[in-house]
Amino acid sequence: MSAALDARLGQPWKKPPLISSPALRWTLLVGSVIYLILAMNSIDVNWSRVYRGLDRGWQFVVAFANPDFTSRAAEIKDGMIESAVMALTSTVVGIAISIPIGLGAARNISILPVYLVCRSIVAVSRALNEIVVAILLVAIFGFGPLAGFLTLSFATIGFLSKLLAEEIEDMDKVQAEAVRATGASWLQRYVFGIHPQVVPRLIGLSIYRLDINFRESAVLGIVGAGGIGATLNTAFDRYEFDTAAAILLVIIAVVMVLEYLSGIIRARVQ
């Protein structure tokens, strides 16, 4: 019998710790406790204000039970249409721009300078928060759906190009090479060798992005970039919780329908 087993015999079993190095384990533990204490202390909660607010919170819960769709029906309808329009156009324009950028950002089919430029476009678009972009674009282009449309297109470019580039990098090289061997031009190589391989995924991602864009368009209105968010913000400002609840329910319903549809479409194309 080995010495290690002899030493273990008769000893009770203990669950092995998640982090094996004791020094690192204790540093992390003590560090997080200190951080938690510091963080908790720096947050001052005005409990009397919270207590008074509970009443209003209850009103909101009640409002959710009987939402008011009728009294501001026209505003809700206009806002939803504007949101849908923004989501749709920005997705289409975003796709159109992200296909060339995605091709350029795929290391296996593009040359290094193009690759670097496209990757930096993707990085910039992904690092900037949509709301921040929307604020700047509202300042430049004025209030309205145009700023929202530009913001969402910009965000779509980063998202789609990155995923498209990764898809192209993972593709089967043999097909593209077979097309190339027939003497195809660069464009023909893309259309017949690469595009058919990535198009199911591209469609799936586009639908998913349409879904995200619609959700985001509900928020952009808060900073003045058009859509249902402006209506929602107004409803909250007037403390019309029943209208706000109605708007939220409509948003949830549309998001769920979109998610369901995108599931079906993605299952069909893949």
Partner: protein, 271 residues
């Protein structure tokens, strides 16, 4: 194989005529819808502002360009608040997401008929409303401040964390659970020794991933009054203090890059 005949010669085509016509019709309808949508946007836009935009952008850029570095003194405390909103919000969300995830996973739910739909409903409703909207609502209920932002972030994150976590629970290796059950372990012991060690890496990954997202989102929560650096951004925008705005945007960008770097490092160490 789709082949058309031209002057008695066979020509290869990728698709036959019917499919081509269908695709063409789809493009026609799609283009029509897009043009209609574009018209809606165009009608709501003052195009004079659009053509004026380069001048305005240059103007704002010129005003913003040397960022007011001295303003940084006033940014440390909101930056600390933002970090706290993201971190504590993630911690609270995880605490609430774990039971929800166990209730939503098919193999651990106490009742697939009653409890699971409720857990799924919690996940869906928390996921479909943006954190900025949650913040808008909570500022009205709890009053403006860091606390509202913290709650908004944590409510928003429950759905995301619970969804990923319950998918991880459903993918565990059942044989380990059976082995623990065979020793006569109680329900809680099975959970602690059979399930939890298997989902721990996924849990840590989800926590760091969500923390990264939450830090991004908490930088803008201040716009609706929910504390953090967004509050300073809103104030500077309202007073048209562009040098301060540019500094704040720079700080936010830096924070996002750092958080992405940290989360990538931690996830790399786990996996």
């Amino acid at each position: 194989m789709a082949i058309s005949t031209l002057d008695g010669q066979k020509i290869w085509q990728r698709r036959d005529r019917d499919v081509q016509l269908k695709i063409w019709a789809m493009w026609l309808v799609g283009t029509a819808i897009f043009m209609w949508c574009w018209q809606q946007i165009s009608e709501a836009t003052t195009w004079a502002f659009f053509w004026d935009a380069p001048r305005i952008a240059a103007d704002i850029g010129g005003r913003a360009m040397p960022p007011r570095w001295s303003y940084m003194d006033k940014l440390w405390s909101p930056l600390w608040d933002t970090l706290n909103i993201a971190t504590l919000g993630t911690v609270m969300a995880l605490m609430m997401a774990v039971p929800v995830a166990f209730m939503a996973a098919r193999n651990t739910t106490p009742s697939a008929l009653f409890v699971r739909p409720i857990a799924l409903l919690i996940i869906v409703s928390s996921r479909s409303i943006n954190s900025l909207i949650w913040a808008l609502l909570l500022v009205k209920i709890l009053g403006p401040g860091v606390f509202a932002g913290l709650i908004a972030i944590s409510i928003r994150s429950i759905g995301f964390c619970a969804k990923l976590l319950y998918e991880a629970i459903e993918e565990i290796d059942e044989s380990q659970v059976e082995a623990i059950t065979a020793t006569g372990a109680s329900r809680w012991q099975v959970m602690a020794y059979g399930i939890v060690p298997q989902i721990m890496p996924a849990f840590a990954g989800i926590a760091v991933f969500r923390w990264d997202i939450n830090l991004r989102e908490s930088t803008v929560l201040g716009l609706v009054g929910a504390g953090g650096i967004g509050l300073q951004l809103q104030g500077s925008l309202n007073t048209l203090a562009w040098p301060q705005v540019s500094l704040i945007l720079l700080v936010i960008l830096l924070a996002v890059v750092v958080s992405e770097w940290v989360s990538a490092k931690v996830r790399g160490a786990i996996i």
